[in-house]
């Protein structure tokens, strides 16, 4: 048996065509969990990040916190939450949300912070209030950075949702974990290939979003004058 035979037998399995273990259902589950976690995290992290970025207070703490969060092992958080809170999709949403929040928070804070101070001064000078300056000037300018943060968070959530199948979450991770448990490699590898495809598609989606969200004025090109290298698009963060 080689890799392609495995993939073939995974795709032709009737259980993967319809019903709860069908590929379509697993993909939808995976996307639904990831979207829920991302939305919940954004609800908390984005307003907080905007506030931190605009006022400049707590920026250091925020980046330090995000650094610590990156060092935490996802598998450990997922298993611990489920042991403490019980098996269930809600319990798994907690660590997924917690892991999606730091990149969103940092991106919102640094994006707003990175707005050209002269532009902010100009906005205040023409009589915009602070909320107006934030939402009409800083947020549009920070949008590409914020979306880049959202891309990091989305990718993180999709990966962690795969791992979370180990503690009973549905989604594509089921194939990977169930296949490993029963030494059914076609299922495992098939599930893994689908996860990889999903991650790549979501990345492409965000790349498109970032391109469209960049206001014309912020599509700055970083001209590298010392090496004569071609200009780098700002969005390739």
């Amino acid at each position: 048996m080689n890799w392609f035979d495995w993939l073939n037998s995974f795709l032709s399995d009737p259980a993967h065509r319809s019903g709860p273990d069908s590929i379509a259902n697993r993909v939808l589950e995976h996307l639904a969990f990831s979207a829920e976690a991302l939305a919940l995290a954004a609800l908390v992290a984005v307003p907080l990040g905007l506030l931190i970025g605009y006022t400049g207070r707590g920026l250091f703490l925020t980046t330090a916190f995000a650094g610590v969060a990156r060092a935490l092992p996802t598998l450990g958080l997922v298993t611990l939450t489920v042991l403490l809170a019980g098996v269930g999709d809600v319990a798994v949403l907690v660590p997924l949300t917690a892991l999606a929040a730091p990149p969103l928070l940092v991106a919102a804070a640094e994006g707003v912070r990175g707005t050209d101070p002269d532009v902010r001064d100009a906005a205040r000078g023409i009589g915009l209030t602070h909320p107006q300056t934030l939402f009409q000037v800083c947020v549009p300018a920070a949008l590409p950075t914020m979306l880049a943060g959202a891309r990091t968070a989305a990718v993180q959530v999709i990966a962690t949702a795969t791992v979370a199948a180990y503690v009973g979450l549905g989604g594509l991770g089921r194939y990977v974990i169930d296949g490993l448990a029963t030494r059914n490699f076609p299922t495992t590898v098939g599930g893994a290939v689908l996860v990889v495809l999903l991650a790549v598609l979501v990345q492409l989606l965000f790349a498109l979003l970032i391109r469209f969200a960049s206001p014309p004025g912020t599509r700055t090109v970083r001209v590298d004058d010392h090496a004569g290298t071609p200009a780098l698009q700002k969005e390739s963060i």
């Binding site: 060092a71 598998l75 450990g76 495992t188």
Partner: protein
């Protein structure tokens, strides 16, 4: 749910110190050897990208995608070639994740050499290799270390996922604790992973102080 099981059984930790130490050492090897390999690959690739600038954009795009691939999925896809529960299954993807972080920082570092400095070195008779070793690489050190810090921390936390394919160092504590409904090893694992990451980060910060004392705290 825990039926009367305490959150942490302290005596279990005391009884298993040697075991925990062994897992930590295993974890450090699985997580950090790939970072070093990634650095060894990033240096020549980064040099190639500064010499042939057209190479950089497509390479950066590819590694951007590679970095975003879910680790468990990549481990599993590799099993047919590298085998179940082997170090290679976990270390090979981690090498590519590290490379994905280190390539842009290497290129940034090498590009950070002001053209006047490079010209001065050439004018003093430095050949390309000597200039690289004596001028360009030292200037790039703060950038390389900033990249290494990111790569090492994420490698250490990702390596734990390897436990699901049978080789994850401290990650085994999560699988073990979950299967036995026993939270103590899970707490220990999270703590040791975070401590390992912190220790490596401190070492890298110290290395920057020694290798590039001119780089202030703000250099990232």
């Amino acid at each position: 749910m825990l039926d009367g099981e305490p959150l942490i059984r302290w005596h279990w930790l005391g009884d298993h110190l040697g075991y925990l130490g062994g897992l930590t050492a295993d974890h450090a090897v699985i997580a950090l050897v790939p970072v070093l390999l990634g650095l060894l690959l990033a240096l020549p690739l980064g040099l190639a990208c500064t010499r042939f600038p057209r190479l950089y954009q497509p390479l950066a795009a590819v590694f951007n995608v590679v970095y975003a691939l879910p680790s468990l999925a990549v481990f599993v896809v590799l099993i047919p070639w590298t085998g179940l529960a082997t170090q290679a299954t976990v270390m090979l993807p981690l090498t590519f994740y590290a490379l994905a972080v280190l390539l842009p920082t290497t290129v940034d570092g090498l590009r950070a050499v002001p053209v006047s400095v490079r010209q001065a070195a050439t004018a003093m008779g430095y050949g390309p290799w000597r200039r690289l070793a004596a001028v360009e690489l030292p200037v790039a050190v703060p950038y390389l270390i900033a990249g290494l810090r990111v790569a090492a921390v994420s490698s250490i936390s990702l390596a734990a996922v390897g436990a699901l394919v049978g080789r994850g160092g401290l990650g085994y504590l999560f699988v073990d604790g979950f299967q036995r409904t026993f939270p103590t090893p899970i707490f220990a694992g999270i703590l040791l992973v975070a401590l390992l990451a912190l220790a490596v980060d401190l070492v890298l910060v110290l290395a920057r102080r020694v290798l590039a004392p001119w780089a202030g705290r703000t250099a990232r």
